[in-house]
């Protein structure tokens, strides 16, 4: 299950506020009715309470259901037409300082570059592009068939290729998506090579754009969960003077892969290049033969349908004669 627009759920706080207003309104209304009709008219007590709960309860639940509908819950999959041919692959390469850690040989960055190079050789008919990111991201190589340029860039890339500091995975993913020009009619894939360290949580908006465009992100976790010092022989130190230990954040990369219908693979898996090649080929072949792709099924209809039903009950309750509530 996934939520497309989780920010709408923040409005549930408004629904809670409404509940408070309703309780206050209930107390005020009972007092008003008593003063208007006297104590024994029968319009207060249980009859009033039942009517109140039916009317206001259905209204409040309807508001909640509308918000759930707006939030865009998805579960299950549905097939959509996909007749795109040819493959475009964009490498989103983390070149932050933490990629210099040597918990994977020769270094996280060196490993990523080797893996990318072997995939470039493995897909002779694909077009490749490269995005590099640290605190900011740039499209270093646009989608091209010119392997010579791609390989040359991979040989030369280093953390110094970008001046910004930090590690902003969102920027990398955004540039990765922007690398695919519209109207090309080709299947797009992003291969994210990173240790998962990011200064900001992953943006749901970006992930949902990937889903809309049908571009899965194949994530490769580079590093180890135990982590490693960055820089040899003089490790980078934090503000407290202690050496900084950089660890692989698998959960971040798994989240990206899951949300975009890609896969996550740990970099140090034996035969990782072959595994990735097989998964990519299988994925592309599957889409070629069936001419369909699967996207998460949006379930707003369930919640909004319930909301409509509650609206009808609410209106029905408003029309109920008072005497029928006794």
């Amino acid at each position: 299950m996934n939520i497309e627009h989780p920010r709408y759920l923040l409005l549930l706080g408004v629904a809670l506020l409404f509940l408070g207003v309703m309780i206050r309104s209930y107390t005020r209304s009972r007092k008003a009715l008593t003063s208007l009709t006297g104590a024994d008219t029968g319009y207060k007590g249980n009859r009033f309470f039942r009517r109140f709960v039916l009317m206001e309860g259905t209204f409040l639940l309807m508001i909640v259901c509308i918000l759930f509908g707006a939030a865009g819950f998805t579960w299950g999959r549905k097939a959509v037409e996909d007749d795109r041919m040819g493959v475009d692959i964009v490498f989103v390469l983390d070149i932050s300082r933490s990629m210099l850690a040597r918990d994977i040989q020769p270094s996280r960055l060196g490993f990523s570059v080797d893996l990318a190079s072997s995939l470039v050789s493995a897909f002779p008919e694909a077009r490749f592009g490269i995005v590099v990111f640290k605190g900011s991201a740039v499209r270093a190589i646009p989608l091209t068939e010119d392997r010579w340029t791609v390989e040359k860039f991979l040989r030369e890339v280093s953390p110094e290729s970008l001046g910004s500091k930090g590690s902003n995975l969102n920027e990398g993913l955004e540039q990765g998506l922007a690398s695919f020009p519209n109207s090309m009619g080709r299947k797009g894939y992003v291969i994210l090579l990173s240790d998962g360290e990011s200064q900001a949580p992953i943006s749901r908006t970006i992930l949902s754009k990937y889903r809309e465009e049908g571009i899965p992100v194949f994530c490769v976790g580079v590093g180890t969960p135990q982590g490693s010092l960055i820089g040899d022989p003089d490790p980078i130190r934090g503000k407290d003077g202690k050496p900084v230990v950089s660890r692989l954040k698998e959960s971040v990369l798994q989240e990206v892969a899951q949300a975009t219908q890609g896969i996550y693979q740990w970099g140090d898996t034996p035969g990782i290049d072959r595994i990735l090649w097989e998964r990519l080929t299988e994925h592309a072949r599957d889409r070629n033969s069936k001419k369909i792709r699967y996207i998460p099924a949006e379930r707003y209809g369930v919640f909004l349908g319930i909301a409509l039903l509650l609206l009808i009950i609410h209106l029905g309750a408003r029309s109920l004669p008072w005497k029928d509530l006794s």
Binding site: G72, M184, L311
Partner: protein, 333 residues
């Protein structure tokens, strides 16, 4: 255009008509408690109560507007975008641009030769959808600026970043062609072309232009050559991007036309002369028309779901209704 994923659900809008009738029009309802105003806190009401009636009308509009919004969002509204998708691989074109200091000559108004070339290239690229276009620039040396790509946004960004004398003082025509050919070599495109744009004579580089053009021809790459500039003395002015130093002076002598013709002949293309910006634009139009082919394309529909916005609209309207009724009108059920 807005469409609905489940248009059948819109029929529920009709349900609102009887509901509206029973709620708002049919007055005699046992659900309404009616009291004489005079007993309310012993205060005499002063009709006609315009403010309250206005607020009640607003709250009703909000409520029924919210109900309509709810049904519309349930029907799955989407904004439909139509996109042209090309079904064939386009051709590859490598633009090889001279950025030697002589390109700063002011004989191409309003700026200079280089800016005129840049402007024409920009228009040319935008008129070649689906073709992979690359960019090489040369002066004393030659460098690939953009590999052949359909990412025109990236291409134009890099084109704008070019500056005169960035690659030194000289004209390495042969190197420029060779670098362009090198990056077209691995292309799977059926048609490949190289467009050389220069105002100078070969005076640098280790590769002869004729040799580079011959290699291009062997690889099936047609070479078009454009000689730009006016004969005679020309005023020149530019700033070295590396040192920030400004250069001013006069330039004499133009390109070696016979060499350029030879390059075009060897490369299987054509030679063109452009003596002013309009002529340069015309030359690019001619090349554009020479390099045409049938493009197969289809229109692809892309939908942007709007149910979230519609639901949010319904939520806002219902909330307004609720707040007016409970906090302002202080309704007693």
């Amino acid at each position: 255009m807005i469409t609905f994923d489940h248009p059948g659900r819109l029929i529920f809008l009709l349900l609102l008509i009887p509901l509206f009738y029973f709620q708002q029009i049919r007055k005699q309802r046992a659900s309404v408690l009616q009291f004489p105003f005079s007993i309310w806190r012993q205060v005499k009401f002063v009709p006609p109560l315009y403010g309250i009636r206005f607020l009640m009308a607003v709250s009703r509009v909000c409520f029924w507007g919210g109900a309509v919004g709810l049904i519309l969002s349930w029907a799955g509204p989407s904004y439909v975008l139509k996109e042209k998708v090309y079904l064939d691989r386009g051709m590859d074109i490598m633009l090889v641009l001279d950025e030697s200091p002589s390109m700063a000559a002011k004989d191409f108004q309003p700026e200079n030769r280089f800016e005129a070339a840049r402007s024409v290239i920009r228009n040319f690229v935008q008129g070649r959808p689906n073709d992979s276009i690359g960019l090489v620039s040369f002066a004393l040396e030659a460098a690939l600026r953009v590999p052949p790509t359909t990412d025109y946004e990236y291409f134009l960004q890099e084109l704008d970043a070019l500056s005169i004398m960035d690659l030194g003082d000289g004209t390495a025509l042969g190197m420029g062609i060779a670098v362009g050919v090198l990056h077209l070599k691995g292309s799977s495109a059926k048609e490949k072309a190289l467009v050389l744009l220069t105002d100078g004579k070969q005076n640098a580089g280790e590769i002869l232009p004729e040799t580079a053009a011959s290699i291009a021809a062997q690889l099936g790459i047609r070479t078009y050559v454009i000689g730009i500039g006016t004969p005679g003395e020309t005023y020149i002015e530019f700033t070295n991007p590396k040192t920030g130093k400004q250069y001013r002076g006069t330039l004499e002598g133009g390109f070696d036309e016979s060499l350029l013709r030879r390059i075009a002949d060897i490369g299987g293309g054509s030679y063109f002369y452009a003596g002013n910006p309009a002529a340069l634009a015309s030359v690019f139009q001619i090349i554009d028309s020479l390099e045409t082919y049938d493009r197969r394309a289809k229109i692809q529909i892309r939908k942007i779901a709007l149910y979230g916005s519609f639901s949010l609209g319904a939520f806002i309207l219902f909330s307004l209704y609720f707040l007016i009724r409970n906090l302002i009108l202080r309704e007693v059920l």
